[in-house]
């Protein structure tokens, strides 16, 4: 019996998710043993046409990481959807837009202008922006189109499962791959991680007081963080209460607060709104100006509460941004 075919693909991501696969360490040998990796651009040489040549649904599962920012990524998403029996959004970017989707606070023009014209490191004169097509010596070169909006994978194609995390841990990756191979998958649409918030497993849980009553908020760089005390008890925003567990508390063990990469539980539609609701309710002040004062410790609510989930949040993107119809890449 032929080995099941597995694919890995990456889009707008940092490469961390690829690292996570490699982080399976010796276990990756077991995976390689059990499956036939038919596509893994970061590690092996495959061409798009190789994938196109595969029969539809011939890949048992594709682990797809990264958000969707360009037309090429969209195209690959569609292609892999067609070729895969199970399409898994792998990591926070594919699941929720991830950090790349913080760019949904800016228009395409703002981004291109900054990156290609205004960035202090930009030496190119005259400042030029990349084009989707370019003629040189009779050769036509093309680049994919840079979209106006960063999207999570499920905003482009239908997704069967999500493996959360920035990046996902080897443990849940292994468990998910195992589940796929054994055909023991939960109902479609599930997130393959525990459906309980991080605090449940956080080693600092016991140190969290019952009454926080915030009078101020501090950002992690402003305090010498106590290595054992609950971050919220140190007035530092920790997204743990609003974030799915399963990450083995790697951040809180590493003395950094949770920033929310595992996304919300299944019972929550908008991770940021929920965290905001919970934190604000626990602010001590009653007078308007005192409340403002306390909350001024959170200077960037979008970046704080939606660090990984802006694309999949209820508003998705800064709503008054223009849609640039020009086909600049």
């Amino acid at each position: 019996m032929p080995k099941p075919k597995i694919a890995f693909y990456w889009c707008a991501s940092c490469g961390g998710c690829e690292e996570a696969v490699v982080d399976l360490a010796e276990d990756i040998l077991g995976v390689v043993e059990a499956v036939d990796i038919v596509l893994w651009p970061v590690a092996m040489d495959f061409k798009k046409k190789d994938v196109e040549a595969m029969p539809d649904k011939s890949i048992v599962a594709t682990l797809f990481n990264g958000a969707i920012r360009t037309s090429e990524q969209e195209e690959m998403a569609h292609l892999l959807r067609r070729k895969s029996q199970v399409l898994i959004a792998y990591g926070a970017c594919a699941q929720m837009g991830g950090i790349p989707s913080l760019a949904n606070q800016f228009s395409r023009d703002q981004l291109l202008r900054f990156v290609y014209e205004q960035a202090p490191t930009m030496a190119d004169e005259p400042k030029s922006r990349p084009q989707t097509s370019f003629q040189n010596n009779g050769h036509a070169l093309t680049l994919p189109q840079f979209r106006n909006v960063v999207r999570s994978l499920d905003q482009v194609v239908e997704v069967d499962y999500c493996i959360p995390g920035c990046p996902p841990t080897p443990k849940i990756t292994k468990a998910a791959v195992g589940a796929v191979l054994e055909g023991k998958l939960p109902p479609k649409g599930s997130v393959l991680a525990p459906d309980i918030a991080l605090c449940d497993q956080c080693p600092r849980k016991g140190s969290k007081p019952a009454d926080l009553s915030f009078t101020q908020f501090k950002r992690p760089h402003m305090v010498k963080l106590d290595p054992e005390l609950c971050f919220l008890a140190q007035d530092v925003v920790c997204m743990g209460p609003a974030t799915r567990g399963g990450c083995e508390s790697v951040c809180t063990r590493g003395n950094m607060p949770c920033s929310g990469c595992f996304g919300p539980t299944s019972r929550v539609r908008d991770q940021g709104a929920k965290m905001l609701s919970s934190l604000c309710a626990n602010v001590a002040a009653k007078e308007e100006k005192d409340i403002t004062q306390t909350l001024s410790g959170i200077p960037d609510p979008v970046g704080t509460f939606y660090r990984y989930s802006l694309a999949s949040s209820l508003l998705r993107r800064k709503v008054d941004l223009p849609i640039d119809a020009k086909k600049s890449s």
């Binding site: 482009v156 709104a273 609701s277 934190l279 609510p301 979008v302 209820l314 508003l315 993107r317």
Partner: protein
Amino acid sequence: MRDTHWQPRIVAFFCNWCTYTAADLAGVSRLKYAPNVRVIRLMCSGRVDPQFVLDALARGADGVLIGGCHPGDCHYVDGNYKTLRRFQLLKRLLADMGVEQVRLRLEWISASEGERVKSVINEMVEQVRALGPLNLPGRFADWDREMTELEANIRTGEEQSARKEPEAAHA
């Protein structure tokens, strides 16, 4: 661009004890106000989950009005303070997300202030009307239009390959 038939749609979350009762009083007093508000009754303004506000906007509301008891008057002691705190940060969040300030409003309206229900609703409807539609469902659709051409191409491609499929299967 401005649709002349467009009417602002405002979703309101009113607490049972003060603002909802005040709205009932406005009715009993036969005060007349703009018909653009749809009230959802909650027991306390403290029940207003910021998700409700975002969801209402995302589903097409042009504004959201939250009505609670005056500070110190909450039927549940201090639920309205929790609302006030959430409201403050939510308002900043909305500003960062490009939603105009007047589209979210928090008002303390006691059970006896039927007149205030009228004036607040009328004022908010006019302010929102002056801003024009928020129309997030429409904006979402506009944003996603950039994907349609590619999707159409892919669909054609799929249809072609579907026709070829039997051969591929044999190969």
